[in-house]
Amino acid sequence: MLSENGWVNFWRVLLLVLILVVWQWGDVVNNWLVADFEKSWRKALTIQILEPFFISKPNMIWARFLELGCFTDSKGAWITSQEGGFAGCLAGNTNNLWAATVATLRNTFWGFLVGVGSGVVVGLILGRSDFLAKVFEPFIVAFNSLPRIALVPLIVLMFGLGDASKIMTAWVIVFFIVFFSTFEGARSVDRDHINVARLMGASDWQVTWTVVIPSTLAWVFAVLTPALSFSLIGVIIGEFIGAQIGLGKIIIEAEATLETADMMVALFVLMIVGVGLALMIRRLQAYLLRWQSQFSERA
């Protein structure tokens, strides 16, 4: 009746519905168990994790989503019918869902860009110069062995609560990922490829442009996906430690005010953002590396 793909989708939808149902009404079972058998062994069966205090409920999350996103007011009435409308609502809450998402995305993008850019440049330079590689090696090893997260409070102290500290946090994480990959790539450039260019009269610069950089970029493109997700991680952590705006800020505030629904809204938006970014970067990667076997049509 259904194709294999159809069945896959059927089970996916069923599983989603099941999760939502348990999430929405699971606590009823819980309450019943606790109420009737307060002191009995059945108490052990009550699943604390279904407690709405911790995980909220889909309908509450949806309501908070509409409110934080300036679709409705706090009573659930559509915002367009209110005074000031959508714009007024946005202005009234600096960390509304839209502003927070835009801020987090913007900083993720810049952290990614700066991290990849600097990682590639430093990786290429050290990868092609044995002398510099030796000089810098102990510093890089030392710095790299430091958990980057431990630096975040210092970064916030130095760069303040604004965007700069988030970009810096993303940068210190992304930089090393890209640097190490570029470094490896620059060291493993095929000698014969260089010889081919040299024999055709290529200058040092031309060898760099036509051989070293293209063959190293393959290594860079291969880490674009982790670089982007780590950039997002960096920004969120930066926002946890100190921020005025951002999805991380919504989460950390919700923790303080015990508003799990708000936290869930932010987590869902993050999930969607993460999936979207991953899809985008994968397409970019497939295009840039279309000459490699695993991305070519043939494979």
């Binding site: 095929d190 014969d192 490829h193 010889n195 081919v196 260019a197 040299r198 024999l199 055709m200 009269g201 290529a202 031309q206 036509t210 051989v211 293209p214 063959s215 970029l217 393959a218 279309r290 000459w291 490699q292 076997s293 070519s296 049509e297 043939r298």
Partner: protein
């Protein structure tokens, strides 16, 4: 000037060429006092067992690795390591097509490096694509090509520089017999027109006999000059029908015998 009986001048002269890899205790003698010369427009095959230093000799000719002793003269000028001359083209033993460049951009590499204007470059590339029978694959990446097609790209990439001297290191070593014969046809066609001076390294005696004017047999490692055979077959040659002549078989078995001793020495060693 080294004048030879038929009047053609020597373009490449090897004088007691020696190569020892490594230093101190770990020295590996790879090439031992090899001397020969290659005349203008001559097609010379260099044949010998694996590890006898054939690639090493070609690398020294191309100026890619330093010479330990002796000398190489190309047009009476000493080859100096690290200073390539545009008149020498080199087709490597390994597949060295740039995987990130399309067929067109691989073939056009040399012209691009030498800043030939785009229109002229494209015209030249189109001509070579046509000649190599790669039409329709101009914009394909090497990963989607067969081994034979990739080797054709390598060859055309070298030929676009119009080298007067062509060094080829087992260019068809990885190809099946049929594809190999196709490549022989293509190479002979080009060579008949342009008469490059060629040094062609191979393991394959049939290939050497099909293509060359002279076969130089090297001994097992360290490579020494063992014997030189003239290949008097008429040109233009047909890669397939040539193999069916009795002259081919006779010369084949004669060289095979000389070569056989060296292959036995190699297998006895390792």
């Amino acid at each position: 000037m080294t004048e030879v009986s038929n009047g053609a001048r020597s373009r490449i002269v090897l004088n007691e060429l020696t190569k020892i890899y490594g230093s101190g205790g770990g020295q590996v003698p790879a090439v031992d006092a090899v001397s020969f010369d290659v005349r203008e427009g001559e097609f010379v095959a260099l044949i010998g067992p694996s590890g006898c230093g054939k690639s090493t000799i070609l690398n020294m000719m191309a100026g890619l690795i330093p010479i330990s002793d002796g000398e190489i003269l190309i047009d009476e000028t000493q080859v100096i390591t690290g200073t390539p001359t545009p008149k020498v083209g080199y087709v490597f033993q390994r597949d060295t097509v740039f995987p990130w460049r399309t067929v067109r951009k691989n073939i056009g590499l040399g012209l691009e490096l030498n800043r030939v204007p785009k229109a002229q470059r494209e015209a030249e590339v189109d001509r070579l694509v046509e000649r190599a029978g790669l039409g329709g694959f101009e914009d394909a990446f090497p990963i989607t090509l067969s081994g034979g097609m990739r080797q054709r790209v390598s060859l055309m990439r070298t030929l676009i520089m119009r080298p007067e001297i062509l060094l080829m290191d087992e260019p068809f070593g990885a190809l099946d017999t049929h594809t190999k014969l196709e490549m022989h046809k293509l190479l002979l066609e080009i060579w008949n027109k342009e008469k490059q001076t060629v040094v062609f390294v191979t393991h394959d005696l049939g290939e050497a006999l099909t293509l060359s004017d002279k076969i130089i047999v090297l001994s097992a490692r360290p490579g020494r000059l063992k014997e030189v055979f003239d290949v008097p077959f008429e040109r233009p040659r047909d890669a397939v029908s040539l193999r069916e002549t009795p002259e081919f078989s006779a010369l084949f078995s004669k060289i095979w015998h000389s070569l056989g001793e060296e292959f036995r020495r190699t297998s006895a060693e390792g």
